[in-house]
């Protein structure tokens, strides 16, 4: 790729022969609705069950079977719409999208076409150079298809209908994204909002969150949109970013060579890191959308919408504001703390358990530093943290009140990992309490200066670096338990 990536703002720019191109991206995110049962049947939605064990007669489209809307899924979609600051439509319509495929039992997918349940809204992204607003075009409810399995039987394709009929929310953004970084931030923000709301678990590995990526390029400064290509069903942020970079450069190359870009659907080959044409506009399916006559238009009252509104928890943007105001953390720290609902919960619990004499700086540093490092290493979600918020708060309080030093705290932290042990107990059992008696430390330091006379003289003559040596010796002599602040003070006096 000979494109030059500009990190100016968060745009992705491609420079070719004195032309500067920007990339324009819109996403259609398919988010699986968190719900015990499917959109139009009572079958379970649990992930990972044996093939075809969660399939009702409706899901398998038996003759005479009829869909009945799952109200909980409707509520989840409305919740998500409110989280996206979007207009909730009092009336929406389910349509049939007709096409044949082995894993589509009805021969059509029930979706919403002309009249979606949620209209325009927006999402705020926190980018390094400031905030960016991304428009939401719409959100609609639809059924997922089953799964075709091509690699189990050598001569047949097998079909698993467990996923058939599971509720999806398709969230369509406006073409407001300008770089892979923004796509990353957008997906993460959507995921964060939906996890706060409990409307989608956002698990990309299990396919709960997938996206179709629309990519076009244009000369920077131009206001017209270029011809776009749609890259289907990309299921990780990393692959989305790779696909966008490849696709944008492919399009720029074509334009620079004086060729036209065909509006088409493309697939991203993750092994070869390239997009490939799947079907052109001419071959595009004619889905023959029409309102599903088995279902009445979906009507929701303002009362119901207001009821749902009243159940909306504090969302990341508001939480961030509150963390900054109430806990005096920096905007950067706040962004990290609120990005995932479980992190925010953990942080707030630590804060609560620290009590009156709380130290925010320490709390933030310990969570985003030591704790995150452990979680990353062990690949554990914070919700399953090996150290509870309560015990981390205790540890922080032990530092704060001078019982232990920061250094000892790290040792204790390691020990706590083995079964979420109370740090107080570790301090007592291992005798790790900090030595804060000035007389004891004085005695210790006197001995060290006495033992290292020559160095003490060198220090006095101006070799100030040696101060660290004495601190180190003092710590060593106290087995790390001496209060470092006192060591500093007394050393300065004595030397």
């Amino acid at each position: 790729m000979d494109g030059i990536m500009s990190k100016n703002n968060s745009e992705y720019l491609i420079e070719r022969n004195d032309n500067i191109y920007e990339v324009v991206i819109g996403l259609e995110v398919h988010a699986q609705v968190t719900s015990n049962s499917k959109l139009f049947s009572a079958s379970s939605t649990k992930f990972g069950a044996e093939p075809n064990t969660q399939v009702s007669l409706v899901d398998a489209a038996f003759p005479g079977m009829l869909p009945v809307i799952n109200e909980y899924c409707v509520k989840q979609a409305i919740k998500t719409g409110i989280g996206l600051k979007a207009k909730i439509n009092n009336k929406s319509v389910f349509d049939r999208k007709n096409y044949f495929y082995a894993d589509l039992p009805q021969g059509y997918q029930i979706s919403q076409y002309k009249y979606p349940i949620v209209g325009e809204g927006n999402v705020i992204l926190d980018m390094p150079k400031g905030q960016k607003q991304v428009g939401i075009e719409r959100l609609h409810l639809e059924q997922d298809a089953g799964k075709s399995i091509h690699d189990v039987d050598p001569s047949n394709t097998l079909v698993d209908l467990n996923r058939s009929g599971v509720a999806l929310m398709e969230i369509v953004s406006k073409p407001d994204l300008r770089s892979p970084d923004e796509v990353n931030a957008y997906i993460k923000k959507l995921r964060s909002i939906m996890r706060y709301l409990g409307t989608c678990d956002g698990n990309m590995q299990e396919g709960s969150l997938r996206a179709d990526v629309n990519v076009s390029v244009r000369i920077k400064g131009s206001t017209e949109l270029g011809t776009r290509c749609e890259i289907k069903n990309v299921n990780s942020i990393k692959f989305m970013q790779m696909a966008i970079i490849y696709e944008a450069n492919r399009q720029v190359d074509l334009i620079e060579e004086g060729e036209e870009i065909d509006q088409e659907t493309r697939l991203f080959d993750t092994k070869k890191n390239e997009t490939r044409s799947m079907r052109s506009k001419e071959d595009a399916h004619d889905y023959r959308y029409f309102p599903d006559p088995d279902l009445l238009p979906l009507e929701v009252t303002d009362e119901f919408i207001n009821q749902v509104k009243s159940e909306i928890p504090e969302l990341p943007d508001d939480k961030k504001k509150r963390f900054i105001d109430e806990f005096k953390v920096s905007p950067y720290e706040a962004t990290i703390l609120v990005s995932d609902i479980d992190t925010a919960k953990y942080f707030e619990e630590v804060v609560a358990k620290m009590g009156k004499n709380r130290d925010m700086k320490l709390a933030v540093n310990w969570i985003t530093g030591e704790l995150f490092a452990v979680l990353n290493n062990k690949n554990i979600e914070i919700a399953r943290s090996p150290i509870s918020a309560k015990n981390l708060a205790k540890l922080i309080n032990l530092i704060k009140n001078g019982t232990i030093s920061g250094k000892i705290a790290k040792t204790i932290f390691e020990l706590m990992l083995d079964g979420d042990i109370d740090p107080q107990i570790i301090v007592e059992e291992k005798g790790l309490k900090q030595e804060s008696d000035p007389k004891a430390i004085e005695a210790l330091i006197d001995k060290i200066i006495n033992d290292n006379r020559e160095k003490a003289i060198e220090y006095k003559q101006g070799k100030e670096k040696l101060f660290g040596f004495f601190v180190g010796q003092a710590m060593k002599a106290s087995a790390g338990k001496a209060n470092p602040q006192l060591i500093n003070e007394i050393l300065k006096k004595k030397l």
């Binding site: 021969g107 059509y108 023959r288 029409f290």
Partner: protein, 485 residues
């Protein structure tokens, strides 16, 4: 034994309740007559043995509080019946045995009814003569080689031939009323949303409605009371207060206003239909009804509208028959090849024709001109009726533009076949209740029916008018048992 089969449902119930006859005797009579009537080809699947067994069980532990105490009933093969083959008259479901029961049939069994068998019908209910059935033509007991109407042709034939005391059909554009008219029987299509569509093989979802077919009006009222119910499993089922249709049935229709729509005088309508209609008007007057001329201005658009909406929905509803999950699967070299072979072999000509029409009218570029426009016209047709009902309580029309025709007479001329539905189709488009009652005969002595159309959910008025006129008309089928073996 033969006497039992000519009793009405009401009479059978009375006799059983009074213990004059047993359920098993009744079942035996209908089974016997059915077995002697194979030439009619009314049945696709017989359930005779099981029916006899169940009737004995009923007699051992009778419950006379039920509305259909131990009554054997054969039903159209469009209703899914648990563990009994359900074909919809199609090769593609030739060996399909459901593991579930339609709500309408379940309602019948819950009230003591016993399944006698599954009755022939046009393939996926697409047809007006029962000639599109994969399982062959059905004879009209009125005369040899006469069609019994369709799509509920097996039902009308079995009913007129006394092979079942009553039956149920489905009506998308006239499939209950037209065969009733062709066989001198009574057929009622209830208001859309009155009977659950759950478990009925779908033809056109926004039009399909199950309903009773019987030898007289009272029997239809009894059966409607049983089959009509609000059902959460059907999102288009309507939760309205249902009457006790049979106990509220009355011949007193004094002062009822009946409308006569001038647009139903179609070009080329045979004189005998015209005179039947006139006679009907006189009967209605005799019953005490007030006759009022009305206009339903968009009537002439009903048939083209119907033949866009119904095939459009059918093309999508029938997509599920693809050889993947159940039913016929022809082997193919690829998925597409398998689809093509399965559907080519599984569907008959008429079904294919309608799938093609439906696919066409929904295609991008044609949707607005056909499907969308048809939906708009459908609204206008509905409004016609709404306005008429400001002035009248019900509407009287002929049921069909002709009497039953010969097998093969129209099977190569789909348009002339479609014209058969001209008086019944507007009722489906508007979702209204409509009944056909026998009212006379043509020059060949073939039966002719009159249709009474009611306000939404006002089946009671429709039944009352029919009940009252039935007495005045005093029609009797002249059936010679020519087919009996």
């Amino acid at each position: 034994m033969t006497e039992i089969t000519s009793l009405s449902l009401f009479e059978l119930i009375e006799n059983i309740k009074e213990k004059k006859i047993s359920s098993n005797e009744v079942a035996k009579s209908f089974v016997y007559r059915s077995e002697k009537s194979k030439k009619l080809n009314a049945y696709v699947t017989e359930n005779f043995e099981n029916c006899l067994k169940l009737s004995k069980e009923f007699d051992n532990k009778p419950n006379f509080d039920l509305k259909l105490p131990g009554i054997p009933i054969a039903v159209k093969d469009l209703f899914c019946t648990n563990e009994v083959r359900t074909t919809a008259g199609s090769n593609i479901l030739n060996n399909f045995v459901p593991s579930y029961e339609s709500t309408v049939t379940q309602n019948i069994w819950n009230q003591g009814g016993i399944l006698l068998g599954k009755l022939n019908c046009d393939e996926f209910a697409m047809g007006s003569s029962n000639e599109t059935s994969f399982f062959g033509n059905v004879q009209n007991p009125i005369a040899k080689d006469l069609v019994p109407g369709g799509s509920s042709g097996g039902s009308s034939s079995a009913l007129a031939a006394n092979l079942t005391p009553v039956t149920i059909g489905t009506d998308t554009g006239g499939s209950i009323r037209q065969p009733a008219s062709f066989t001198g029987t009574v057929g009622l299509k209830p208001t859309y949303g009155s009977c659950s569509r759950y478990g009925i093989v779908a033809f056109a979802s926004s039009l399909d409605q199950a309903g009773p077919m019987s030898k007289d009006v009272k029997d239809s009222s009894i059966l409607l009371e049983v089959i009509s119910s609000f059902d959460k499993k059907d999102s288009t089922s309507i939760d309205f207060k249902r009457n006790n249709y049979s106990s509220e049935l009355t011949k007193n229709i004094k002062g009822i206003k009946i409308g006569i729509p001038k647009e139903y005088r179609v070009d080329g309508m045979p004189d005998e239909i015209e005179s039947l209609w006139k006679k009907g008007i006189e009967y209605a007057k005799d019953c005490g009804a007030e006759i009022i001329d009305i206009s339903l201005p968009h009537t002439s658009y009903a048939l083209p509208t119907y033949y866009i909406v119904a095939p459009a929905e059918a093309s999508s509803n029938l997509a599920r028959y693809d050889g993947v999950k159940y039913g016929l699967r022809s082997s193919g070299e690829s998925l597409i090849d398998m689809y093509e072979k399965t559907r080519s072999e599984g569907f008959g000509e008429e079904v294919k024709r309608r799938i093609m029409i439906g696919t066409y009218v929904l295609s991008s570029g044609y949707y607005d001109a056909y499907y969308l426009k048809a939906q708009k016209v459908r609204q206008l047709i509905k409004q016609d009726f709404d306005q008429a009902y400001n002035k009248v309580d019900a509407i009287l029309t002929p049921s069909t533009p002709s009497s039953a025709f010969k097998i093969g007479e129209k099977s190569n001329d789909p348009v002339s076949m479609y014209l058969n539905d001209i008086f019944t189709v507007p009722v489906n488009l508007a979702g209204l209740p409509g009944i056909s009652i026998p009212a006379g005969t043509d020059k060949n002595n073939y039966p002719l029916g009159l249709q009474i159309i009611g306000k939404p959910f006002d089946e009671q008025t429709v039944l009352n008018i029919a009940y009252s006129m039935e007495e005045k008309i005093n029609y009797k089928n002249n059936i010679t048992d020519w087919w009996m073996e």
